[in-house]
Amino acid sequence: MKHTAAVNWKSVRDSGGVWIALAVFLAVAAVSNASFRSPQNLINITRQVSYSGIIALGMTFVIAAGGIDLAVGSLFALAGVVSFFAMNAAGPCEAVQLAVGFGTALGVGLVGGALNGVLVGAARIQPFIVTLGTMSIFRSLALFFAGAGLVSTGNQLYPKIVSTEILRIPLPTLVLFLLTAGLAAVLKLTRFGRHVCAVGSNERVAFYSAIRTGLVKFWTYVLVGGLAGLSAFLLGGRLNSVSSSGAGLLYELDAIAAVIIGGTAMTGGKASVPGTLAGVLLLGIVSNVLDMWGVSVNLQGTVKGLVIIIAVLIQYKRKDVAA
């Protein structure tokens, strides 16, 4: 375990820029606004960002292997819609309904991810094209099944479960943090993680090094798909309903932005899971602070865009100095 901690510290240092930025934003926000620094607000932020954040963790692997997944937001909606139908058809017992819902959401995510994975890994189609296509397919299926509206359940257990708090930390936040630690270890300490970075660094070299490059890419899409399903399950219980048109909207962009802000190279090969977490939190804090300052919601996208561009700019500068 000591080893794990050391390695994680190293990756924290590697993605240094984002942690400094995070600290600066936290300090500015905390000083400027009293309600921002209340513990409950901070906890709320982590819960709000956890849904797209969980997806961003998986997106880190996809991008590290040189890919991209635009379909995660649509897959999130589809997994939510299908799992609600499954719950409603699962008989009277609420616990059983919940288990069925969880299994379905996760299953739809994994299958959707596997579809992307096969098209990228085996059929060798450009990931941007594949996921642009499946983004449209998944969203349209979600709309079709739900008649373009809301799907809901009367399950009383579901909201209780997903809003469980352990030591005042909400379940989605806990899942986000635990997954960060787990996936950071997978990326840095396992053969799969090493292969992901090798494929992203230079696919031909990886192929000549007897790595099954298609298979490696396949599993990255399965991973992010599964996480999209898990995230859909966690969010679905909050209102006990899913909107087929609004759920997961632009999650793919939030996830990709967090990954890039976190220091992962868009071209693949170099990645940091803790960095992605920092990117997720940074984006969450920015939008929360803007709310507190009373900045128009319509302008928040502008600020978010600037944060993304500036963060990447700072990282490229750092790289130049190092080289």
């Binding site: 396992t190 090094s209 007897a210």
Partner: protein, 482 residues
Amino acid sequence: MLRVEHLTKCYDAEKALDDVSLMLGGGRILGLIGENGAGKSTFTKCLTGVVRPTSGTISIDPGVSVGWIPQEFNLVEHLSATENIFLGREKSRFGFLDRRAMRDEAKRRFARLHADIDPDRPVSELSPAGKQMVEFAKALDASYRLLLMDEPTTILNAEETGRLFGIMREFRAAGGSILYISHKLAEVRGICDDVAILRDGKLTCLAPARELDPAEMARRMVGRELTRMFPAPPENPPGEPVLEVAHLASGRAVRDVSFTLRSGEILGVAGLAGAGRTEMAETLMGLRRRDGGTVRVNGREVRFRRPSEAVAAGLSYLPEDRQGTGVLPGFPVADNVTLVSLARYCRGGFLKKNEIRKAAEEYVRDFRIKPARPEALLCELSGGNQQKVAMAKGLDTRPRIFIFDEPTRGVDVGARREIYEFIRNLADRGVACLLISSDMEEILGMCQTVMVMRAGEVAGFRSGDELTQEELMYLAIGVKER
């Protein structure tokens, strides 16, 4: 034409160039030689402005434009040969590209080089030798008065080298100057007027080429006498057949290849560029689809669908194209060495970092890899050291059959010798080696038997008294049949 004064370049504490001063007049060819890591690449990088010198000055006569033929190809893969040649210097008429003029000019330049290259073909479809020709054609621009050539003949055969030298002499006769960097010392003596020798970043010798024979050059490069380049031939005859290939075919590149490789043997594979030698190796490794023929490893017939199966069967391959297929420049030495054999360093999918480090430290020591740090990024290493890492990577799978594809391409004298010794030691321990090489001297020095390939087929085998440079060349170009 070119004047360099007190040029010094430091990377951190290390001096890559140490107070180098030299002059190059018009109508001269200056050879620049030195071991890998002696500072040749840094010198060219300073001249071309890729890196900024720490101190010293470089002056080039006003109005002189400089052409550069880099060691690693500097081509845009998906553009055509013509488009690459005129990249950044496009000809235009009324603001539009003058495609016809550029295409005609490209054709003329290829004709001068006697290179049979379609100017419209994308560079990605050309062989390494073809890409080299495109680099030459790029440098043939009439406005250039000074050329920097970094290892231009590494992948050329004797005939192509001769043609290149002819063009270089024409260029010199017209008053142009060339800075010529090479590891091939006999060629340097043949083409250059003067020779500058770098050792550990210092200029140790600047003398007319006719006063230095290759042995003397090599001695001054390493600062010690090189008695013989090649290790002694093996004492034991080859053992049992371990690799039996019959009528191997793959696409148009490999049409009919049959041979038997025995344990402890080093079988040479000679041939001109484009004879299908690399493609043959890639087919054996499962990197390329096999369309016909049979392959037996230790008597058992095998059919590899992917490289991992070939590795599991005991095969290892050192690819020709180090940068493109051999190593990951952004990864540390340790991670490169263990990339193929990673399964051995895992428990339950998790890496045993200490063992990876220990293994890498051993290779760094055994191969004398510099810098001697397993955590150093590969891109910080010189070409020769990168090649050693690539070999360690192939060796770490504990192969019984090792295919070397141009193992000393772009590697200096000292490292080259270490690589030869390494291959010989491997064979002495019973590993069956296949040595693909375009360097005749190397093949003759290392192999007892040589297979010559031509147009995807085996043109013949030579061994014993018949194993001479002339015989191999005859077979390779097809003057003589089996």
